[in-house]
Every structure is written in C-alpha cells, then in structure tokens.
Symmetry: C2
Subunit: 582 residues, 2 copies
C-alpha cells in the first residue's frame, strides 16, 4: 500500500507533551502515534494502530502455533461469576463497577479467568476433550490508582490472555512450558531485550510463576541479575545462600552490657565499640529482631512472629508479604507491646521470644555458630556474643531481608546487580483455584470426575508498543524494528520540483507492486521538515528522492545506523525489497 503524507492523519509535534516523563510516551505523542483523551485513556492514530496491529499479529501467530484457539468474551460482564471467586470484592478499587438500567451489577473485565472456566465447563465434559488452550486479544479495563507513562500503564489496554486446561499436573507443566517457549519466540521476534524472572520463590507452596520483564531504566518493576551469569529474579524470588555452619565451641560466652540510649543500630554499634571488647563491631554483627503479627485468611486471631536479621539490613516489605502469603502481615501496635511486657521494645532478644512462645524465624545468614550483638530483653541492655545454636535455637528461617547490589548471586556466579524492567508477559500455573470455584471436572476414563488444573498466561499487547519505543529510539526519534514498523519504506521527495514528485510516485508504485508498504512524503514542506519527520516517525528505511535523481541516483538511509548509500534509481526497488525482506 501507499500512504501519502499529504493526506495522512498525522501532525507531528516539535515539543514533548507536558505530562510525559518517559521516552516512549514523549515520542509516541510527538510522532503522532497516540493521543491522550482521558486519564489512562489513549487513542490510536493511524501510525500507532498499524504498529499495534503488527504486534498483535505476532502474538496471535505464536499462540496459534502452540494450538491455542482464539475466542472472545465481552468486556462488560455480570457480577455473579466474579462473586463466586470473591474477586468482585478482592479487586477493590482497581475494578470498574457499574449498574445497568435494571440496577444489576456489572464490571469491566480486568481479566477473564472466571469466564474461561465457565466456558470450558459449558462445552466440555469428557477427559477425551482435554487438554485445551484458549485465548483472546481484547481490551481490558483496570482503574489504576496512578495511570502513567502514556500507554505503558493505562486504564484501558489491549491484552492477550490465554488459559490452559489440563487433566494432570504434568499436563499443566507441559502447557506452561509451551507458553513459555511461545513467549520467548514472541519477544525474540520483537527484538526485545528482556529477562525471565521467577515471580515468587515458591517457598510457601506458591505455584510456578514467571514474569517476562523488558529491561528499561524507566521500568516500574525492580529485579536483580547476576553480574556473571544469566540469573535474573524478582527481589521477592531471590533465595539468600546460607553460609556454612560454624563451631559453637570456640565462641566467647555471651555477656550482657549496659547500652543506654541506643535507639538505632548505628548508635548501638557506637556504644558497643566503646566497651573496649578488643574487637570492632559493625551493623552486620548485630541481630535486629522485628516483631510482626500475621493472620491467615479466615482465621480469627493474629499470631506474633519475631524475625531476626542482620542489623545492616531492613525487612523488605514485598519479600515479607511474598514469604507469608496468603497470610496478612502488620507491625505490632503500641497496645500489643503494652499487653506483652516480655517484649521490651528496642531491646528485644531471641531469648524472651523463645521463652514466651513467640514464633522466631531468622535470616538464612543466621546459621549455627554465628555470634551476635542483640537485645537482652531488659530496658537499656544488649547482649554480646549470643551464639546461634548455643544460646538460642530459632524455629526456622525466613528470607525477607532486603536484597542489595553486590550480594552473591543465588546461582553462585558473580554478584547481584539491581535493574529495572517493564512487565510484558506473565505465565502462571493457576492450579485448581478456578476449577474448584466452578466445579470444573472432566469425566475420567474410569467414569470418575477429574478436577481440571489451569494455567494463566498474559501479554500486554498495547504496552508492548510502548516498550518497543522505550528500547528503540535515539535523540531524533523512534527507530522501529522492521517487523512492527508502520511502513517498510519512508519515501521522502526532497524538493518541490514536479519531476521529483513524479519520480517518487513512480518508485512508490513499484515498491507497492512488490508488496511493500510505503509512506510517501509528497507534501509541499521543505526537505528539512520532511527529514525531521521521517527521523521522528522511525520507519527503518528512508528512501530520499532528491537532486541526485537528475543523475539517476537516489539515497537510501538506514534509520537505525544512520548509514546512507547512493544507488542507481533503476536498481532501487530491487535493492529495497532485499533490505526489507532480509
């Protein structure tokens, strides 16, 4: 096809939009790909819609290739199925809720687990029907608290969500693996720089779950990766390697010291170092005891939990929540301390916790034989050389201390580096949660019901357009990967001479005949304006028909490398077909 800039619905902007902070947002608006119409609501202009459709098609092809079947649900759904799973409530303010004219409750679907489960239940009954994988590519709605960065985090966005339905756990693993491979193909085809991170450590029985993160400084998600290996993980999923246990024999005896006015670890270290014990202590030698209380879903009472970790580290809230999931967790209140006088705030040590039946879990670094400066359970007193395995025995470990750059990589290779990314895909072994909620069974070969197990897999299709922009731009504008670019060739007629325009039209027609998509800049604007727009719009190959045409040559410019090449006009089409088709 040939699109003429003279009639294309496109007005590029010289200035960045005032509300834009990240490069993709700035450039997609400036280059006329998207326009904001509401908080978190964007319109797609012709160029943007072309890129979106190209990305969507790549996702669709790889889904079809693993035998997933495309269907489509409404976005506007009745409350009832989401009440059955309690998600009507659980979603909280992220869910758009509304009423119809009969006052019935509806929602705008943020995801469709319930509907897919009910759909399969409605159609399938025998074990012979399984496995099956279904998907849709559809606009989703989420009432984000802070829509941001243009189409990177909107309230209405295009998503591919798929669900696998299997008879066995092994089947689920296979479906999961097929999706993982398909996602790798999708993101590789898009030429993205991305990592696959374990979403949770699975320590507390969580199901397998991985996230695909596109590496981007502007990303909202933090992750860590090894300086030397391919290891990458969400901080929630980092497993701290435990050092080897030590002998308890050669350790000095535990001694209680007066340590008044030591409200912080730093002040404690100062005071201890002034005790003249013949050693220098650092924060890493102290054992900080953090008191929280937890409550499992449905439980009435809160349970106290003491967490011991080296004093140079804080508890990471996300890691704590992930480790204790599905339990709720909060810090103790002043009332809790008043009601439990054995908890001497600021001077809590392992001994009082263990003596009073408070569950006590420690950081993996707190192994047998390690000696610590910690609370002595008396106001203004700490104990030095309290040895794990000799003076106290924790109830177990809990891996919730903050992860820091420079920590050893869990795979033993190199150290961890902090990085930022944007979630572009998520694969998740749901298990039987939804099948249980809706009693999705297959009649087995032995005529007994088999409860189905499910996987859930998502790709943010519209978000990918922003992510591609985020990874493909320079100071002059966007630089699209070839297989998602809105056009194959951006043909600039550089000059107002009628013969130039005629030459450009002729070349465009020939390229079109070869099946290439051409945007032809036939405007009356100056060559400078046209070149700037071409760089901003970011079609990978720019063909310039200018003064050289009189001498039988045109110029081909590679948008990404900036390389220019003059070639005879007679061979230009053949040459470009090769460039485009690779």
């Amino acid at each position: 096809m040939i699109t003429r800039m003279s009639s294309l619905f496109l007005r590029t902007l010289r200035e960045d939009p005032a509300d834009a902070e990240v490069p993709s947002h700035k450039l997609l608006v400036r280059a006329g790909y998207v326009r904001r119409v509401a908080p978190g609501g964007y319109s797609w202009l012709p160029l943007g819609l072309r890129v979106l459709r190209n990305v969507e098609q790549i996702v669709r092809e790889e889904m079809d290739a693993i035998g997933a079947q495309e269907i489509q649900f409404p976005a506007l759904l009745p409350k009832e199925p989401y009440e059955a799973t309690n998600r009507w409530t659980e979603y909280g303010p992220n869910l758009f809720r509304l009423k119809d004219r009969k006052n019935a409750d509806f929602l705008l679907a943020p995801t469709h687990e319930e509907m897919f489960t009910l759909m399969v239940k409605g159609e399938y009954s025998s074990y012979k029907d399984y496995p099956v994988t279904l998907y849709q590519i559809q606009n989703k709605f989420r009432d984000e608290a802070r829509p941001r960065a243009g189409i990177l985090r909107g309230r209405e966005f295009l998503m591919k969500d798929s669900y696998s339905f299997d008879l066995t756990d092994e089947g689920l693993s296979e479906s999961y693996r097929a999706h993982r491979d398909a996602y790798i193909k999708i993101f590789d085809r898009l030429g993205l720089d991305y990592v696959i991170v374990a979403a949770t450590s699975g320590a507390m029985g969580g199901s397998a779950s991985e996230e695909f993160l596109a590496v981007a400084e502007t990303g909202e998600d933090t992750f860590v990766r090894s300086s030397e290996s391919g290891f990458a993980a969400n901080v929630e999923a980092v497993v701290t390697p435990a050092p080897p246990a030590q002998s308890v024999e050669d350790k000095p005896a535990a001694v209680v010291h007066d340590t008044p006015d030591t409200p912080t670890i730093a002040s404690l270290v100062d005071v201890v170092n002034k005790l003249d014990l013949g050693r220098t202590f650092t924060a890493a030698d102290t054992l900080k005891n953090v008191l929280v209380k937890t409550r499992l879903p449905g439980a009435k009472d809160w349970e106290f939990l003491g967490i011991g970790l080296p004093g140079d580290r804080e508890v990471d809230e996300k890691r704590l929540e992930a480790a204790l999931e599905p339990a709720e967790v909060v810090l103790l209140t002043e009332t809790d301390f008043r009601n439990n006088p054995h908890l001497v705030k600021g001077y809590i040590g392992p001994k009082a916790l263990l003596a009073n039946g408070v569950k006590y879990l420690v950081d993996p670094r707190v192994v047998t034989g390690t000696a610590w400066v910690t609370g002595a359970d008396q106001d203004g007193k700490h104990v030095v050389d309290l040895v794990c395995g000799r003076d106290f025995t924790p109830d177990g470990t809990i891996d919730v201390a903050e992860v820091r750059a420079g920590d050893p990589s869990p795979d033993g290779k190199g150290v961890l580096e902090a990085a930022r990314g944007i979630e572009i895909g998520h694969i998740f072994q749901l298990g039987r949660k939804y099948a249980d909620a809706f009693k999705l069974d297959a009649l087995g070969a032995d005529s007994k019901p088999v409860r189905i197990t499910m996987g859930s897999y998502g790709v943010g299709v519209s978000r990918l357009v922003a992510v591609l922009a985020e990874q493909n731009f320079d100071e002059r504008g966007l630089v699209w990967p070839r297989n998602v670019a809105p056009y194959d060739v951006h043909l600039v007629v550089a000059g107002k001479d009628e013969t130039l325009l005629a030459g450009g039209e002729k070349l465009a027609a020939e390229l079109h005949e070869q099946g290439l998509n051409v945007v032809l800049d036939d405007r009356k604007a100056s060559p400078g304006v046209k070149f700037a727009d071409a760089e901003l719009v970011g079609v990978p190959t720019i063909l310039v028909v200018g003064r050289g045409l009189a001498n039988g040559v045109v110029e081909i410019k590679d948008r990404r490398t900036g390389d220019r090449e003059e070639i005879p006009v007679e061979t230009a089409v053949e040459h470009l077909v090769k460039v485009v088709r690779g």
Copy 2:
C-alpha cells in the same frame, strides 16, 4: 491452515436454545459460533470469531478504498465531551454510566461523534488539511431496554463508525456519496438482500439520511417497497402522492345532520348511510380531525394543532414525530378540552378550528374540491359535503397518516408492500451540530474561519454476522457465503478406517499448501454425526473422503445447492481450488 475437529473448541447442540426465537440466534448457538454470557452479552467461539473477522476485513477494505483512515478511541470515556453536546443527558437509560475511583463520571461509548470532532480539532487547523474521513472498528456499548435475538441486538457489539469532515456542503455531499457507494460494495460483497431507504422525508429541514436494511421477516424495522419498481422507504419517509384538485362548482352544498351516538368512524358511517342521501359513504369519505399540541425545544408554551385525515386511516405516531421534529408532540388532555369549549370532542370540524385560530393541517389526499363528512362542531352533529377550498381552507398539508400495503408507490410505479428489515448501515449528513458544539473551524484561504461540516456513517459489524445467518440457512443449518465462511472446505473423513484418515490428512495438507483453509473432521464419530455437523456448521464446500477412496474417488458436496459430485482423488485439490477461487 488446517483445523482438526478432534481438537477444535466446538460442541454443536442438537436442540435450539430455549431463549432463541429467530433463526440466526438458534443456528449460531447450535452450531457453536456464539455463546450467551449476559443479557445482550455474547462470546465468540473460534468459528464465530473467524466469520466476524472476515466480515470486519471486508468492511475495512472498502473503507480504506475510499481513503478513510483507521484510528481507535477508548470505549471508556470521560463525561465532559458528552456534556458539551448534552448527549450525556439525552441518551437517557441507553447509556452505560460509571464512576472511577476518584468519583469522576465516565461512560461506555455508544458512538464517538464527540471524540472524532475533538480529535480533528486537535490535529488540524488549515483549510488545506481538509477533507478528511476517519473510522474505527470497535466494540460499542448500549444499555438496550430489550436486548434480543442473540448478537442481532446486543448491549456490547462491534461497529464500524466513520466520520467525514468537509469545508463545504458540496464536500459533505461527496463524502456522503462515497460512503453510500462503499456501503453498497460491502453489502454486495456479502451477498446480502438489502434495500436503501430514506430515513426521513426531510420535509421539516432534516438532513439527508439513509438506512441500509437487510430484508428479513424477523427484522425489527418495517419499511415499504413498490411492487413494481426499486422504490423502498421507511414509513416515516413515504410521501403520499396528492390526487389532482377537483372543481368545487359541481359539489352539493354542505348540510348539517343529527348524528347522535357516533363515537367511532364506523358508527358515523352507519348513521350517515341511514340518512338516505342517495349515496353510499365509506370511512374514506369522512374527515377525521385529530387534535395534538406541539412544543419546540426551548419554547415555553404548547401550541395546538389540528390534523385532518381520511377517516379510514389512523395517524402514524412515528410519521407524526418525524414530521414535527424537533418539536415534541402529545395528544390533548381532558383539561385542554374543558379549557377550550370550541373544541367539541367527537364532533370537531375544520370550521371551529380555523375560526378559533388553531393551526389546521390536512393529509395530502384532502385537496381542493374533495367533499367530506366531518364534525359540525356541535354535540351530536356532523356535516356532509363539506368541501375543501369552498367551505374550509386548511393552513397546509401534513403527511402523517398510516401507510398501508396497496397504497400507490410514491414513484408512481405499482403499489406499496409492507416488509421487514434489519438495519445494517446508516449514513447521515450530520452537518455542523458537533462542529458548532466544539467550535471546529478551519482557517480559510482568506484567513477567516470556516466551520466544518460532518457526516456520520455506521455499519453494525457483529450484527452483520447474524444478518448473514438470517439470510443464509436451511432446515439443516447455516450456509455461509464463501467470502465470510469460517473455512473454505469442510473435509469429512467418513469412516474409522485408518486409510481414510490418512487420505483425508493428505488431501487437507495439499489444500492447505494451495492456501485454502480446511476444517478436517478427524473425529471418531459416526459418518452420520459428522455429516450433520458439517451441514449445521455451514462451510460452503464439503469434501467427503469415504468408501469411494478405495476406488480412487472422493465426493464434493455444495452445501447450498446440495449437489454432489464424485471426482477422482488426484484431481480433487485442483477442482476445489477452482470452486473456492471461483
């Protein structure tokens, strides 16, 4: 591509769904194309989605062909633009309204006039930018009072809506014409039986507007068409031909008669016929005077209006509303009659109306020289031979009497027949309503602002799938037109013999290689079940690989005609390519 029935997400049903009344609804559910998930909310299963995409693609191609440019707006929109045009209120209960987490008002867009207008205003400024036509293909939401007939009238549905923006009325006419032609191409390509009807007569200054109605007994819209010509129109748009005026000279004088107990036209005709006037009267000889009151938007007071029409016809409410638009219209109340004693209920005649300054409009059939039996403005009295143009002179005509089968066609050819249809497209010269609301101006060549004029054009894309089903089925199931069918060939392996399946797989692979889309029934089911499903699903060409294969022949069946043909297996692929490509 090859889809195997053994894994296709499809379960056909033997029984019609309980809630289905029209054939398309019954068959699309039974054949596994759609499933209901909410009132007016349907999911698309794999087969249905394929047909929907095929229809969508035909619409897209014809829009692109007239230079319309595809964009896409969110469905979730802020209230403000719709307040500016008052449609936030005007839409009434048909609009889905909701609030976001910050309590801001949003709506689910039923159409996007406001957004398109604002979009063009945001990008374009000069007269050189125009004309432009934009479109989108997108899910729309309307809170229909009575969602019905499956996807025929849903609350969430796929629609193509486009808008043209022109500098002049002539430009708008051209854009309108281009859309009209494109719609004809779309509906012709879909092989639909349809008519184009004027939506309103335009008598009261309404803008040009036409509807495309697919002819269907189950349609909600009524229209009339000529028994002899191509004339078709909404009843609102039918212009009643006026008979020639007659001489008033040769008419008998008007005489008042006692006509007690004549509450109905029938009783009046009876009484008059018993007066022994030497003639026989029918209801068509009486002049019924209907009193209404009207009020223009913004006006404070109601104005009375008398409508005189032949007594054998009722006033058609839709025609009345269309004729008086944008004024409101209601019948007089008892209070109105009490307050206006000159209006003698049941005996109202033209004379009292005209004498008391009540505007009096008559049916086009009431021409000069026609003599009528009508009210004498006294209780229990009628006048006979009251002659128009001699005894009374109306203030004008109003064409609001019911249109009946057998009425002469307005184009003078044949008589009118009543028919039913389903609206599949609507083209409408909006004019400057939205441009005025948002001050959409172009800077003219003379540096003066030019107010833009708009056209609005819609096609119900998902509805078309139902309409196609409605026009293409028989007692055994669906019969898709070739260019929207989910597959090109339905290959039935008729038998459980392994060699049959191998033969089927081989043929499917060869057809696939030729670029054909094949659904291969490789199930273990009986040939009878497979044939029944093939007929129900409605792929236009059925290829049967059965016992004949041993003798080197396969059978090709035309789903629509039922014609069967045995052909040698070696030439089957070549033959089918010809059948499919035409």
